[in-house]
């Protein structure tokens, strides 16, 4: 992680305030409609490693008071230097110290319970995780190998369908435990290359009957 070498670094948003407000709006929309795939439009020169959508999201959310944990392939990449330079965030080596976490596609995700869970008095202190996934699809169509989810909870009229690929096998069990520990628990953003899906801790996930 050579944070002093700026020669390969990309620029941030052209207009810092407007750019981060637009992405923040996307994050709000994603969390208020869990399971909806929302395209992130931004003009930041995102790093090579990691998905552009998650890079733009973190660029908008982080500041010098935030702590960020990066999965191994991101921690040694230009993404770490890029976020450090533009947001001034602090990188931490232990997942439980982080307010934000970013896990690259292909990296093993730490157990959800290992992130900061917040407390009953301050549930807002829990971690927010951004998870890069190769595939996200809001339709219930059956992709080969992709898990079909049925989402229920606040922000969803009846049921939302989502197919995701590349998650750990026991992810649903972890999520059920995370959902059950409400008001504590982590919030999740799933990111494909250009799209975000919000999964707040209030959403319950079941495998849909199609499989």
């Amino acid at each position: 992680m050579s944070s002093h070498d700026l020669s390969n670094l990309g620029a941030g948003f052209t207009h810092e305030a407007f750019g981060s407000q637009a992405v923040f709006r996307v994050a709000l929309e994603a969390l208020s409609h869990p399971g909806r795939c929302i395209t992130v439009r931004h003009d930041a020169e995102v790093p090579q490693t990691g998905h552009p959508a998650s890079a733009a999201l973190l660029l908008a959310l982080l500041d010098s008071d935030s702590t960020l944990w990066l999965s191994p392939s991101l921690a040694n990449s230009d993404a770490a230097a890029w976020l450090r330079f533009h947001t001034g965030c602090q990188l931490v080596t232990h997942a439980d110290q982080a307010m934000f976490a970013w896990v690259a596609a292909g990296d093993a995700m730490p157990a959800l319970a290992s992130f900061s869970q917040g407390s009953d008095n301050a549930p807002d202190q829990s971690a927010t995780c951004v998870l890069d996934l190769p595939l996200l699809d809001a339709k219930a169509g059956s992709e080969s190998g992709a898990a079909q989810w049925a989402l229920r909870g606040p922000g969803i009229q009846d049921v939302n369908h989502l197919s995701v690929d590349g998650l750990a096998l026991n992810f649903l069990a972890q999520w059920t435990a995370n959902h059950a520990s409400f008001p504590r628990g982590v919030d999740l953003f799933l990111a494909s290359a250009q799209q975000l899906v919000g999964l707040p801790r209030t959403t319950s996930i079941q495998l849909s009957g199609g499989l």
């Binding site: 700026l6 620029a11 941030g12 330079f85 533009h86």
Partner: protein, 170 residues
């Protein structure tokens, strides 16, 4: 650690930190005349010029415990200049006291140019040594101003009956 960079003797090998320290104190008119022509038509900002506050810390007598002296207004920016090779662009970074975005932008351009060893000699003559002279001038003016308020204390010999007192006073 006390680091005096304004009474700098022109060492043969200047490292980047040396010229960045000089550029942060360079006045706008010197920067304008030396690197104004290199100002890119459409600067590629990594970090557009922005002004903020920084807490300055000091140590009494430069040895005591650190304490917060106060906040200063600082502008900073980082930009990329197209380098000799297309894939190897140079990044210039500058911090300066005050709110002049033009000044800090030009200082960043100068920092980027100085990283090219072909430009270093020219810029040393047109920019860095004038800045050093300017800072030396400011320093000597400040010293003279301080000198004019200097008070000399004299011990006036007073008449005394005792002989050994007289010996001490004279």
């Amino acid at each position: 650690m006390f680091h005096a960079f304004d009474n700098h003797d022109p060492a043969p090998t200047m490292v980047r930190a040396d010229w960045m320290a000089l550029l942060s104190q360079a006045p706008l008119d010197l920067l304008e005349s030396a690197v104004g022509a290199h100002w890119p038509a459409k600067p590629h900002w990594l970090r557009a010029p922005e002004t903020g506050l920084m807490m300055v810390q000091g140590r009494a007598g430069s040895t005591g415990e650190r304490f917060n002296l106060g906040e200063v207004t600082v502008s900073r920016c980082a930009l990329r200049l197209p380098g000799a090779q297309a894939n190897n662009a140079v990044v210039g970074v500058a911090y300066a006291l005050g709110r002049s975005h033009r000044q800090v932008g030009l200082a960043a351009v100068a920092d980027a140019l100085l990283q090219d060893s072909a430009q270093q000699d020219l810029l040393e003559q047109t920019l860095l040594s004038p800045v050093r002279q300017h800072l030396a001038l400011l320093r000597s003016q400040r010293e003279q101003r301080a000198q004019s308020t200097k008070v000399e204390f004299f011990t006036v010999a007073r008449e005394s009956s005792s002989m050994d007192d007289e010996g001490e006073a004279s």
